[in-house]
């Protein structure tokens, strides 16, 4: 157990920081309505050149084969830069899920394409918008002489509006839940973009007899759901680490504001009540880091199901501590904190979107209780 970075990790960090600085500079946010489908194919390609899209892809499939520590490092830097690229979806969840899937041409070709930055896969698991139940799946597969077609609707597909493929859960003709890859450009796929809380574009994805890639499910019978949960655990780990980057930037913006803004003839950072609210934010940030690292340690073995309890503890805590940080940041910024045009706004909205992605505090507290 060691918390400081070794030389390789410092080099990776430096590379990603340079990439983020060159790509995003001082990104300022927009009002939600003005936001374009924010992520960019060219940036994604640049990320693939740096190895980021294949960060978790096994080396034999063209990736770097890294694990939790690198997920932490990269995600945090992307968070600090408010990167809108679909890292957690396409580079983590999709890669982890494909890696775990049954050997075959789909697995290997998709993993290679992820590494190369040629595809962006969006996990499409949810049908209800009221809870995060992965088992409430009505989407179904029809088998027409060995050709598989998918029918159903998935909601709140994160990063879905700009995806090239979906990974969709659906029931086989035998009624069993499995996962399938479906390209976005085949007949029978209808993508309706939905504006997300963070200005990124979600999608409703409708499948009306769309052809399944490779005409095969990703998993052996009965193995899909556990693997979906496990891949989402890694996705949530990435989101938690991204949240650390967001919080770090919010602390910076707030501390600067406290130092610069003057009222009653002195910087407002000299007022004890504001100092103490800032201290609460610092504590929340430190606790978020601790619990995220704890989850990473628990997930490190990669064993199916390992770390679920700690990951859920971490995600629920990051949601809760995140509120402390973002609410404190807004309050300490006063009117500026409520302004969509000020940089803070984008961080606030992204942190809330992370909270709502793949299980919120309520969901993960319950999952923690059940898993521990």
């Amino acid at each position: 157990m060691r918390f400081d970075l070794d030389a390789d990790q410092r080099a990776l960090t430096a590379t990603i920081e340079k990439f983020a600085h060159d790509t995003y500079g001082a990104r300022s946010s927009r009002t939600p309505e003005d936001a374009p489908a924010d992520y960019s194919v060219s940036v994604w390609r640049r990320m693939s050149e740096l190895g980021l899209t294949g960060l978790c892809v096994p080396e034999e499939c063209g990736g770097l084969g890294f694990s939790v520590v690198e997920i932490l490092l990269v995600s945090e830097i992307l968070g600090r830069a408010l990167s809108p690229e679909p890292f957690a979806t396409a580079a983590i969840v999709a890669a982890k899920l494909l890696e775990a899937s049954a050997a075959g041409p789909t697995r290997d070709s998709m993993l290679l394409a992820i590494s190369n930055g040629e595809v962006r896969l969006a996990p499409a698991f949810y049908e209800s918008v009221a809870d995060y139940d992965l088992q409430s799946v009505d989407a179904r597969i029809s088998d027409e002489g060995g050709r598989l077609y998918i029918h159903g609707v998935k909601e709140l597909v994160v990063d879905g509006a700009g995806a090239t493929h979906f990974i969709v859960t659906a029931r086989s003709e035998a009624g069993e839940i499995n996962a399938y890859v479906v390209p976005v450009d085949v007949e029978g796929v209808k993508v309706s973009p939905r504006l997300g809380l963070d200005g990124r574009w979600l999608a409703s994805a409708e499948f009306n007899g769309a052809a399944v890639e490779g005409d095969a499910p990703l998993f052996e019978s009965g193995e899909a759901l556990a693997n979906v949960e496990h891949a989402l655990d890694f996705g949530n780990l990435s989101l938690c680490a991204e949240a650390l980057g967001l919080m770090d930037r919010m602390l910076h913006l707030t501390a600067m504001h406290l130092a610069v803004r003057e009222q009653f003839g002195k910087p407002i950072g000299t007022f004890q009540a504001l100092q103490h609210r800032f201290a609460d934010m610092v504590v929340a940030m430190e606790q978020s880091r601790s619990v995220t690292w704890m989850a990473a340690a628990a997930l490190e073995s990669g064993e199916l199901g390992a770390g679920a309890s700690d990951l859920s503890a971490a995600k629920s805590a990051v949601c809760r501590y995140g509120r402390t940080v973002l609410e404190g940041a807004i309050q300490l910024h006063g009117g500026m904190g409520m302004t969509a045009d000020f940089e803070l706004a984008g961080y606030v909205r992204r942190l809330l979107a992370i909270e709502k992605t793949w299980g919120d505090r309520v969901y993960h507290e319950l999952r923690f209780l059940e898993a521990s």
Binding site: T31, P32, E33, Y126, S128, V129, A130, D131, Y132, E155, L156, V158, S192, R194, L195, G196, L197, L202, S204, E262, Q263, F264, G265, I268, F271, A273, L274, R323, E327, I330, Q331, G334, G335, G337, M338, T339, A340, D341, A345, V348, R349, L352, A353, K356, T357, D360, R361, V362, E365, L366
Partner: protein, 400 residues
């Protein structure tokens, strides 16, 4: 001390509920209950309906056209409006109105009071400036006398509804002598005067309520001074007191709670309605209870009248209201579940018609959470209010 309500009060309550319920236009009611933002015309339409019955300005004294209701009846009236899905009263009615009544010249009263009840003339408040927020007395927008006009230069900011407003009541600096409070004048500015520029400020939820107001060589007739030059601080302090029940946010809190309860009753999660969900049940109960407490605190303040030191202060009302708005909007964010991830601002903010992808109710959850982060900032920050409470409290409890 007497805690009961008279029969005639209870009859009034029945009457006003029935009347108001019949008056609210259906389209407005729908938007209000969907927690969508209203248009200027919605507010005007509703105030016009009320004005026809002389109910548009319930807190104004009868000599200025108020209905002459007791505090309790005003509470019943507000309750009836709330239950019927009426728009909330525009705060400025109880700000600039009472100020003109207390300090205005006869000419000012004649000119400005008639346009207020039906909102035929819309007002905004020009207090905050980029460098003057909590420290209001440090404001720098300057008015220099030039014959029978002032020439005003400066900038106001966080000005609600300036883009809808015909007039702005504002504080300007007319002297640098003495304490900062001593050189301030309360001035009425016609927003169509050359040199007035309004620039929108978009809020966290995407709404356009707030504005920057730039004032460049704006000529304002001297008869638009309220009270006297350099005595604007007196007016501002009076106004703070006049708006203390507005600042309590009781109606807004009730509306948010109603919204939360409707959502909780209608949505299911983990196999139960959200209202029965262990996560939400007791949070809802505590908010309902604290709202009852708050309502009684408001009644105590209304009944006490000015100058009663044992009554809760405006700052206590503001803190309680802020606490409830923050907690209820926080609860809404949680009630929204996964659907709070999507937000269609156009529909929510009234810029487009039609339904949101997952329905109006879910569409408003995150937006409402974002909107009410303002609660502890506007109208005097929570920090400022607590400091004021301490000062009062030290005087009341801190002496042997």
């Amino acid at each position: 001390m007497e805690l009961g309500w008279s029969t005639s009060d209870l009859e009034f309550r029945e009457m006003i509920r029935a009347e108001i319920s019949a008056l609210v236009p259906a389209d407005i009611r729908t938007r209000v209950e969907n927690i969508q933002h209203l248009k200027k015309e919605d507010y005007q339409r509703w105030q016009t309906i009320l004005a026809e019955r002389n109910w548009a300005t319930p807190a104004w004294p009868p000599e200025y056209g108020g209905p002459g209701w007791s505090p309790l009846r005003r509470i019943f009236f507000e309750e009836a409006c709330f239950l019927a899905g009426a728009p909330r009263p525009i705060p400025h009615i109880n700000m600039i109105g009472p100020v003109l009544q207390a300090f205005g010249t006869e000419a000012q009263k004649e000119r400005f009071l008639p346009g207020i009840p039906s909102l035929t003339e819309w007002w905004c408040q020009g207090y905050s400036e980029p460098s003057s927020g909590s420290d209001l007395a440090s404001l720098r927008t300057a008015a220099v006398r030039d014959g029978d006009h002032y020439i005003v230069n400066g900038q106001k900011t966080w000005t609600s509804w300036a883009h809808w407003a015909d007039y702005m009541f504002c504080l300007v600096r007319t002297s640098d002598a003495g304490r900062p409070q001593e050189g301030i004048t309360f001035l009425l500015i016609d927003m169509s005067t050359p040199g007035v520029t309004v620039r929108p400020i978009y809020s966290l939820d995407g709404a356009h309520d707030l504005n920057d107001v730039f004032l460049q060589d704006v000529r304002v007739p001297v008869e638009n001074v309220v009270l006297r030059e350099n005595e604007g601080w007196t007016v501002a302090k009076y106004l703070l007191n006049a708006e203390r029940t507005e600042i309590a946010g009781l109606g807004q809190t009730k509306r948010l709670l109603q919204y939360a309860e409707r959502l909780a009753a209608g949505q299911r999660r983990d196999g139960v309605t959200l209202a029965d969900h262990p996560e939400f049940r007791s949070r809802l109960a505590r908010i309902r209870i604290d709202l009852k407490a708050h309502e009684w605190t408001v009644m105590r303040v209304m009944a006490a009248g000015h100058g009663d030191a044992s009554a809760p202060s405006a700052s206590v009302l503001k803190i309680c209201g802020t606490d409830l708005l923050e907690r209820t909007s926080d609860l809404l964010m949680d009630l929204g579940g996964p659907a709070a991830l999507a937000y269609d601002p156009a529909v929510h903010l009234g810029r487009a018609n039609g339904a949101a992808p997952y329905g109006h109710a879910l569409n408003g959850t995150a937006a409402t959470y974002l909107e009410f982060r303002k609660a502890g900032i506007i109208g005097g920050t929570t920090e400022i209010q607590k400091t004021l409470i301490y000062k009062d409290a030290a005087a009341r409890w801190g002496t042997s």
